[in-house]
């Protein structure tokens, strides 16, 4: 192919006097990605990230932290011990160390939550954005599918499935949770993709000849990262809570070491009625802290993606020019053209 005829550009727009090397202080800042910096700057998400990180570390270092195995029987004498130096969280009715159960339980909760969130997010993103971009028949079909899954009540479905399924292993749980929780986010992501799909850069990609899938994953999804991240975090903590709830009812994976299971046995043995609060309290606290951490992170993600929600720094307000002037708004000079 002939080389490009060189058109002499008589009108140039030189990128200008910008220095080719950034001053060193600004260079360092580039190592930390913008989104992480913003998340860390936000007090809510900073707390959330810290707590979550702590919980992850606990899960990873569980064997080091716990003196006993979670299923290690301490015999009748070792059972029902109140918290002590030896057993910081006490022991269960069956004689298991609760501290061990809690730190090892973190593994199953976190893994379950993350895996279910990943599955649900992938499904929600793919189907939601495709529906928004493709429109027409594909949109109808996906919407129908989404509605079906939305209409089915989650908890009863989970209960029924769990009751019927022979295996209740982790894999099954992840599958069930992912499949019941994707629809909600799919609808939201579809909504956001709809606002993006008529933006000029998407049309430009189409006119350039990009195929549908490349536009979905190459143009739309990269602009929806914060909403997708929010979806992930949301499904993450809902999964953890739901799994714990199922386990508490005896419908989850009862062989696993997890917070829900610990609390199940505590409830079955009516320990609370006998004044033994520790088999409930500590797993419950762990659960609460983890979910709280995720909720805080979610709040941070929301504020990062929607600057109007930020409580620190500039707050966008609509100002009225009159007292009692609820009717006339002065546009924010920063809103500009």
């Amino acid at each position: 192919m002939a080389s490009v005829p060189q058109v002499e550009a008589t009108t140039t727009d030189a990128v200008g006097a910008a220095p080719l090397a950034l001053p060193s202080s600004r260079r360092k800042r580039k190592i930390v990605p913008e989104w992480l910096r913003l998340l860390l700057a936000n007090p809510k998400s900073r707390l959330g990230i810290t707590l979550l990180l702590g919980m992850i570390l606990v899960a990873i270092f569980a064997p080091v932290l716990a003196k006993w195995e979670p299923q290690e029987s301490l015999g009748l004498l070792g059972a029902r011990q109140a918290p002590s130096w030896d057993h910081p969280f006490g022991t269960t009715d069956q004689g298991y160390d609760i501290f061990a159960q809690v730190v090892f339980g973190a593994r199953s909760s976190l893994f379950l939550g993350a895996a279910a969130a990943a599955l649900a997010t992938v499904l929600a993103t793919t189907l939601g954005v495709l529906a928004a971009y493709a429109g027409g028949f594909i949109d109808e079909v996906i919407n129908f599918l989404t509605n079906v899954f939305l209409v089915i009540p989650t908890i009863p479905l989970l209960v029924v499935l769990s009751a019927y399924l022979k295996s209740r292993g982790t894999f099954t749980m992840v599958l069930i949770l992912g499949l019941t929780l994707w629809a909600f986010e799919a609808r939201i992501l579809r909504g956001q993709a709809l606002t993006l799909r008529n933006r000029d850069f998407v049309l430009a990609a189409k006119v350039a000849g990009e195929g549908t899938w490349r536009i979905v994953f190459g143009e739309l999804v990269p602009n929806m990262i914060s909403r997708i991240a929010a979806a992930f975090v949301l499904v993450f903590y809902v999964s953890i809570l739901t799994a714990a709830g199922l386990e508490f009812l005896g419908l989850g994976n009862m062989d696993a070491t997890s917070w829900g299971v610990t609390m199940y046995w505590a409830q079955v043995n009516s320990t609370f009625l006998q004044g033994e609060w520790w088999p409930f309290f500590f797993p419950g606290m762990a659960l609460a802290i983890t979910v709280l951490a995720l909720v805080f992170i979610l709040a941070g993600v929301d504020e990062v993606s929607n600057p109007r929600l930020r409580s620190t720094g500039r707050r966008r307000r609509m100002r009225s020019m009159f007292v009692g002037g609820r009717s006339v708004f002065v546009p924010d000079p920063e809103d500009g053209r």
């Binding site: 009159f322 009717s327 000079p333």
Partner: protein, 345 residues
Amino acid sequence: MTGVVENAAGTSRSRVSGTALVELQQLVVDYVMQDRVVRAIDHVDLTIHTGEIVGLAGESGCGKSTTGNAILQILRPPAQVTSGRVLFRGEDLTKLRGEELRKFRWRNVSMVFQSAMNALNPVMRVGDQFADMMQAHEKIDKKQALSQAGELLQMVGIDAGRLRAYPHELSGGMRQRVIIAMALALRPELVIMDEPTTALDVVVQREILQQVEALKNDLGFAVLFITHDLSLLLEFADRVAIMYAGEIVESAPAASIFANHRHPYTNGLIKSFPPLTGQMERLTGIPGSPPDLAAPPPGCRFHPRCVHCRPDEPELYRRQTTKKPELKQVAPDHLVACHLFGEPA
């Protein structure tokens, strides 16, 4: 100074009385942020006389909107008035607070924004918004307010029945007229218009501006017309001030700007409008782009883009790159801030 002012075409336009209505004296507005301070307006002097149409022209980021906001004292953090005075009939507005400021706003000076949809509440009927606004300023009941609102709408050429409409039911041009009517409700002495017709079609724009001019002649208010469309100002305004990078670089009657402009930026700007009639020639616009106000060029802010700034005239070049030019008078009522004109200090 009383006199008849001519517009660019040489036809007489209006009688401008000598009273200075609003005076900006060495006004400085900064945007103070965590890591840096950006000077949006740098020691700006501007005078608006009663009954005069003053045009403020410039491109995005030059500070013209900020100037309008500064007069009405509606600057929001991080923007602040660092120094200088905004005088209204001699009274320094920067010293007013709270109730006094509120009374002054809309009654003495009002504002018309670019996009009416930003200024109108979409879920309230137009008439109700009018009444709301008037009742906030005067002790009248709703019925009186609505009847006055009806008169105002008719003044701008809209049927009073439209009071019952919601904003989205009106066309863009009509919405803009509503905003103008609201701005005139309390008979202010100065109306600041910030790109009021930019989003409108050319025909509607002309109709509205003709209407504004007729109203101005009737009611006697002054107008500060802020826009990037210099060709519009040359037709419509009595005097024009050109802003660049937070400073006023030239200020003169519209006819002089058109026929006799001095500043190279003004020249570049005027030459950026292709002629509608007459000889057609290749234009060049202005190379480069406006400076980053966080770190403006030293000396004359326009010098990196100016064809008259060349190292082969060392004395001039030194001044252009180190000293900021001041506004100097080069003809009656014609000021220019450029090292090419006026005597060096």
